[in-house]
Amino acid sequence: MAHSGTQNRLVRWVDHRLPVFTFMAHELNEYPTPKNLNYWWNFGSLAGVMLVIMIATGIVLAMQYTPHVTMAFDSVERIMRDVNYGWLLRYIHMNGASFFFIVTYTHLFRGLYYGSYKTPRELLWMLGVVILLLMMATAFMGYVLPWGQMSYWGATVITNLFSAIPIVGDSIVTWLWGGFAVGNPTLNRFFSLHYLLPFVIVGVVMLHLVALHQHGSNNPLGIDRKGPQDSIPFHPYYTIKDMFGLGVFLLFFAAMIFFWPNALGDSQNYVEANPLQTPPEIVPEWYFLPFYAILRSVPDLWFIPAKLAGVLALFGSIGLLFVLPWLDRSRVRSARFRPIYKWCFWLLVLDALALGYVGAHRPEGFYIVLGRVATLYYYFHFLILLPLLGKFERPLPLPISISAAVLASHARPAAASVGKA
């Protein structure tokens, strides 16, 4: 048996027929991992933990929630007041959505910086983009469930996007709503899908992990492992590092849950949905703000009306991520060895933050200009900069191997002190 050590006869008996123990030993224990992963590599496992937390709290919340337009708001408040520790479950779930996006976006930008999407990890990356899309759909529908003002009007605005589709748009929107406005059928199907999609995400996460374990993790140097001297077993080295990172992450998460549980939400969502009264501002949750800014930044383009153009730009912004492995023509993965790309990466981060800032404000004056510039730059980065950089950027020389680079970085301080002496 591959799993060394265990002499338990029952384990051996099971493993001979159903090799789960061998599988776990192989994928968790012996799984060779680059020895030089930094703390940015913690965010993948953090996202996995968040998914589990969201599903666990969500299942319990669903036992107390009523998906009906006249009862949904009150049932959530009942969870907050009368269900034992209902306030805790609900605040974990509510803030969990935000923290899930924080870790996922960090994970995504880590992939961008270190070129984790490049060959042979293109499908691994694309599965990640699929997970992101599923997360966005799940989060959007979950936000509708408490049936507050922002739930209702957010649902109205976002489902109305589909009316931009020529000819069949309006029919599609009616079909999505199950009626002629967002109403009880909409709430019911959103609840159903909000319960379903997380399990679809679990499925895609499995594929994401299969693809990951095929070639193993990328690393900060972006070069392949050349042999056993470049690797360490996942357990115990990265299990303990992931656990330590999880502890630090939970400190921040707990602080928000217990001391500022509503700070990331919109106070308007504590007003029950009222189809006759539009709130002064309709704003999505913070994690959708950059996309909301792109949606609202696009003017009429030739024959395409602004609404359709905005929707296309919005979906295009994620579509670009999907085809990113073929847009970035550089063979060097890590931005550490790409002097120009490194700057472009940080500009893209700034650009995303600027889009988020624009998304939180009414599209007036300065915000329109900034939104358009930032949207254009986003497309410029992926469609023009990346292909050109692949051609014209001169990367720095790559280290021979991971272990050679690690040794050099440890030797450097010693050499410096010798020089001083």
């Binding site: 940015w40 500022w260 700070a263 703000l289 800032y357 404000h361």
Partner: protein
């Protein structure tokens, strides 16, 4: 690790600053942040004040505003978060006494199939001044907002980290009926000028004035005192489990700090083998 913390700081600052923009866009004075006893990780309710606040709700606000999520029994010892400090008997007496709106609970149908009126019991929600939204509109011209979670539903909500919070806003609004500027043109005869209400025109006439209520505990009922008391009551009503949340939170943070310490030590120890091997190789 340092870069991660720095990046988190930048993002947190940006997210936290976003709500400021909205307040400025409306060109309204920002209600100042007040110090409340329920602020911060160790905050708890000022129960004496919140009980006086309930008196104000019962004698003034309930004329027009419902609080349909709050039950009389919530204020007793078996209520969420341990209640508002009233005893079981006090709660029974409070429920039996009609609010200033004089409404009773509509119950039924009885054995003849008829609905009937009866005094409230601790298990009932606070009796609303109107039977439905249509009646409210007929009576007041619009539906007065339900006050159950009002401090979570206004301004930055209950716990915006930097901006104005709901309790600050309600406190400012109640004290914000100042003399209108000379160029103030009310859009209707019933509009009242309020410094802090968006657009400055509020349908609600000034609800509180000095000595609007007489406190049983002898507290001087100034406008400031009344506003402070009603906000404390509304904050309790909006988040009755706040104290349990704070207590649990402090325990969880302390536990996590200890856990992180242990995990860090374990991580250092396990990785020492790898680092030692590297240093040995480097030499």
């Amino acid at each position: 690790m340092r870069t991660i913390i720095a990046a988190a700081g930048v993002v947190a600052a940006l997210v936290a600053s976003a709500p400021f923009g909205f307040a400025q866009e409306q060109e309204m004075p920002t209600p100042p942040r007040q110090a409340w006893t329920f602020d911060g990780p160790f905050g708890s309710f000022d129960r004496a004040s919140a009980q006086r606040g309930f008196q104000i709700y019962a004698e003034v606000c309930s004329q027009c505003h419902s609080m349909k999520l709050v039950h009389y029994g919530d204020m007793g010892p078996s209520g969420p978060g341990g209640g508002l400090g009233f005893t079981e008997d006090q709660v029974k007496a409070i429920a039996a006494q009609p609010l200033v709106n004089g409404k009773q609970v509509t119950d039924g149908p009885d054995e003849e199939g008829n609905m009937f009126q009866r005094p409230a019991r601790p298990s009932d929600a606070l009796v609303a001044p109107f039977d439905n939204d249509k009646q409210a509109t007929a009576l007041y011209g619009a539906v007065p907002p339900d006050l159950s979670v009002i401090v979570k539903a206004r301004a930055g909500g209950l716990d915006s980290i930097f901006g104005t919070r709901g309790p600050d806003y309600v406190y400012a609004l109640l004290r914000g009926y100042t003399d209108p500027p000379a160029d103030f043109k009310p859009s209707s005869a019933t509009a009242n000028y309020n410094e802090y209400f968006p657009g400055h025109q509020i349908a609600m006439p000034p609800p509180l004035t000095a000595d609007r209520v007489t406190y049983a505990d002898g507290t001087q009922a100034t406008l400031d005192q009344e506003s402070y008391d009603i906000v404390n009551f509304l904050a309790w009503a909006a988040e009755p489990n706040l104290e349990a949340r704070h207590r649990t939170g402090v325990a969880v943070i302390l536990f996590l700090l200890a856990l992180v310490g242990v995990l860090y030590a374990a991580k250092r120890r396990i990785w020492a083998k790898v680092h030692n091997a590297e240093h040995a190789g480097a030499d």
